[in-house]
């Protein structure tokens, strides 16, 4: 019965811990490693115009949460303007307005964009009703014969679109194409024409305008041109096509800013509107990017995480969360391996202080302090002091020794001086006391065995606790502690032999 309960409990804990962990790691996208970097892009749209002294109303289409990208940290910079964001047909739109303005005006929109495979896109708009007569007269005739040609050469919708694009991009275009595109056609013109033809054919299609997220960190605030491409609805969703090569979908770094063949920005009450887009890559720790992302997608999750704490408290928890790990390691070392140590969790605390001093230096300081403390302790023994005053005396001596050690290393040019102070002196005192008793009661060998065992455990705990990825894991995914708890509970019922039992009962096995 107890066992069933234990297994159920451990199973539930593991399930809860791993579930939350996998959810955060895979769906929210918290990175598993502290080193993972992710690239985010700072994009900016600048609207420049000259106000004519009348009321000004400037609008800009804004990027939405598009599949594969996350848009966050949106800011609008403008002095004196009121700002409203609305949704106009397929686009989000920001409108700046002011009663009166004269002279040069600059309005900014900034946002951070992250490439992410698993963000939640905004609901895709349904394909619009098609069949409107945008094409007329000769254009219509040209379009019809072009489509006849295209259909002949393609089997399905995707092939048809690709073929249409090929026709529109031919070096020696057909007369029909020439007529449709007009002289010196731009890329945008080609897309617009393709959309019109497709819509006329009853195929839902639209123009997508966007920018390329490209460049290096050095290219500070690089201006980038708007590019346009084709989006065709295949019955399930919108599929993008490169209007020059016909490739589908378009490259990952093409970020759709808006939909439609118009201009993304417009102004009333101003002249000479110029819209400048710029993009700048930012290399960021994947963690902060994930946090930014989660702020948008899972605000609740973040509010109840360690990240909601002040930074200084977070730093403390980074260390505290390692203690359970060290404790678990100690369970393994003591109950499965069977190493003897002084004090149950003393090695974990020593390991924590090793984090400050480094391993070898830490061991050296530890051994030195314990050895010096033992000398003093043996001398105190002759004074026949009562137990608690004697412990206090050793504690005072330990603190004094630590201070001396700090001063000495400092004057010798070392910088270990400061970090020594983090050695847990009470634990050290108890270690010295117990060690001295063991020496007297059971001899030096026994004391040395336990002492070495303690150092070994502390070193192993340090090695595990000092792995940056592990520190990262337990801090970002504290729910892993539930899994650790489950494992500890199970080990609590481990009734098999310890590794040291082999040595202990070796004689019985005839070995």
């Amino acid at each position: 019965m107890n066992r069933v309960q234990l297994y159920l409990l451990a199973g539930a804990l593991t399930l809860a811990g791993m579930g939350l962990f996998l959810y955060k790691a895979c769906l929210v996208g918290f990175p598993m490693s502290h080193k993972t970097e992710s690239t985010t892009w700072k994009v900016e749209a600048r609207l420049k115009f000259v106000a004519t002294g009348k009321p000004v109303k400037a609008s800009l289409l804004l990027p939405e949460q598009v599949k594969g990208f996350v848009v966050f940290h949106e800011t609008f910079i403008s002095s004196g303007y009121g700002i409203v964001t609305t949704t106009e047909k397929e686009n989000r739109q920001a409108t700046w307005s002011i009663r009166k303005a004269t002279g040069r005006q600059t309005l900014y929109y900034q946002a951070t964009i992250e490439l992410a495979g698993n963000s939640r896109p905004a609901a895709e708009s349904l394909p619009p009703k098609t069949g409107g007569t945008v094409l007329e007269g000769t254009s219509l005739q040209a379009a019809k014969s072009l489509m006849k040609e295209v259909k002949k050469r393609s089997a399905d919708k995707a092939g048809m679109v690709a073929e249409l694009i090929t026709q529109l991009n031919r070096k020696d275009p057909h007369d029909n194409v020439k007529l449709l595109l007009g002289p010196k056609p731009t890329r945008k013109k080609r897309v617009t024409v393709a959309v019109r033809i497709l819509n006329h054919m009853g195929v839902p299609a639209r123009v997508a305008g966007g920018i390329r997220l490209r460049g290096t960190v050095q290219d500070f605030s690089k201006k980038t041109a708007l590019i346009h491409w084709l989006e065709v609805h295949n019955g399930k969703g919108w599929v993008s096509f490169d209007p020059v090569t016909g490739k589908s979908p378009v490259p990952d770094h093409w970020f759709r800013w808006y939909i439609g063949d118009g201009s993304p920005a417009s102004v009333e009450g101003g002249d000479n509107l110029r819209t400048v887009f710029s993009v700048r890559p930012m290399v960021e720790k994947a963690l902060s990017a994930a946090l930014n992302r989660a702020e948008v997608s899972h605000p609740f999750l973040l509010r109840f995480s360690l990240f909601s704490l002040p930074v200084s408290t977070q730093a403390v928890y980074r260390v505290i969360l390692l203690v359970p790990l060290g404790a678990f390691l100690l369970v393994l070392l003591r109950n499965v391996v069977g190493i003897k140590t002084f004090g149950t969790f003393m090695p974990v605390l020593i390991a924590l202080s090793f984090r400050e001093t480094g391993l070898l230096r830490g061991i050296f300081i530890f051994v030195l302090l314990v050895a010096l403390g033992l000398v003093v302790r043996f001398w105190l023994e002759r004074l026949k002091l009562l137990l608690v005053p004697r412990l206090a005396a050793v504690l005072i001596v330990v603190v004094g020794l630590m201070a001396m050690l700090s001063v000495m290393t400092k004057s010798l040019g070392g910088n270990t001086g400061i970090s020594v102070a983090l050695f847990p002196m009470v634990i050290l005192t108890m270690t010295i006391e117990r060690m001295s008793i063991v020496v007297e009661e059971r001899g030096f060998g026994e004391a040395l065995t336990s002492g070495l065992g303690s150092i070994l455990c502390a070193s192993l705990a340090y090695l595990v606790m000092n792995v940056k990825d592990i520190e990262h894991l337990v801090f970002v995914f504290p729910e892993l502690l539930l899994v650790l708890l489950a494992a500890t509970l199970l080990l609590g019922r481990y009734t098999g032999y310890r590794l040291m039992d082999i040595y202990r009962f070796k004689a019985l096995a005839g070995g």
Binding site: K384, L386, L387, V388, Y497, A507, L508, A509
Partner: protein, 311 residues
């Protein structure tokens, strides 16, 4: 290594994890521990149950009472001071005689009043107690052991450890102090452990640390084939300790006094596992047997008979 593990398993060697999880935690309710952890309570309980224990001379509970020690031991040439909550034989001071107002320890060294007091102060401070909490010091009768063991022990008092499981004595050994163990009767301190055949009460094997031996390392006398006198009453005494404390799995330490007969020195709720080495045999099979027949084992005589017959 795997071979050793398999062999240990085959022989039914009980190791510490299993002892704790499946025996002490399972059969020894926590609330009963104070009965055996506090030797003073054990002593009182034993007296109430008519079980022989070394007579108590006095108890030192606070530092101020240390002055009363000379008064307490005035009438006795020899005595023992031990912590009420000690474990593993630690902190036991055996005074075997006096010279010029000083005390002679069993090991032969002479200590003064001051050192004696210091030992008591340490004891009161909790130096030897489990968990280091403040303790009491017991001053009691020093056992004059039975001549059976005279030639096979060095200095200290040899004692008989019997593991009693659910009231059935399952395994026993006699622990013989050596020069190496400094007169103490603990195997890990270097005492000789001699396994006793449960049916006959005769020692059949002996170890010193991990080595098989046949003779006492200090006296050279054979330690195998020694018959323990009054074996069956001894088993009964051990089995009665179960009825007295209610602990399912315990170690009973008995000394044979020349004049007073068998005396229970202490009970142990977490008895050690070295007894298996001394007996060259595992405990698990015997414990399993007792668990299987536990319902049919009621009376004291049944249980002792069961042990004599099966182990």
């Amino acid at each position: 290594m795997l071979r050793i593990l398999r062999e240990l398993k085959r022989q039914g060697i009980l190791a510490i994890n299993k002892r704790n999880a499946d025996y002490t935690l399972k059969y020894n309710p926590r609330r009963l521990y104070p009965l055996v952890d506090d030797k003073l309570r054990t002593k009182q309980l034993a007296l109430e149950n008519g079980i022989g224990v070394p007579p108590l001379y006095g108890v030192i509970e606070v530092e101020g009472q240390v002055r009363q020690i000379p008064e307490i031991v005035r009438d006795y040439q020899d005595f023992v001071i031990k912590p009420a909550h000690g474990s593993g034989g630690e902190g036991i001071l055996v005074i075997s005689g006096r010279t010029n107002g000083k005390f002679r320890r069993a090991a032969g060294t002479i200590i003064g009043r001051e050192e004696l007091n210091h030992h008591v102060f340490n004891t009161l401070g909790g130096l030897y107690s489990l968990g280091g909490q403040p303790d009491k010091a017991i001053i009691e009768y020093r056992v004059r052991f039975d001549p059976t063991f005279e030639h096979i022990s060095y200095l200290g008092v040899p004692d008989i450890r019997i593991i009693v499981f659910l009231g059935v004595p399952v395994m026993s050994m006699v622990r013989l102090p050596t020069r190496m163990s400094d007169g103490k009767a603990n195997l890990h301190q270097g005492a000789v452990g001699a396994g006793i055949d449960m049916a006959t009460g005769r020692t059949v094997s002996a170890v010193l640390e991990n080595d098989n031996i046949e003779e006492h390392p200090d006296t050279g006398n054979p330690v195998i084939g020694v018959s323990i006198p009054n074996w069956v009453p001894l088993l009964e005494l051990a089995a009665r300790c179960h009825d007295m404390t209610g602990l399912g799995y315990q170690g009973v330490d008995i000394v044979l006094d020349k004049d007073k007969g068998p005396l229970v020195l202490e009970l142990n709720a977490r008895p050690g596992l070295n007894i298996q080495i001394a007996n060259r045999s595992g405990l698990l099979n015997r414990l399993d047997t007792v668990e299987r027949y536990r319902t049919s084992l009621g009376s004291l005589s049944d249980r002792v008979a069961f042990a004599l017959e099966n182990f």
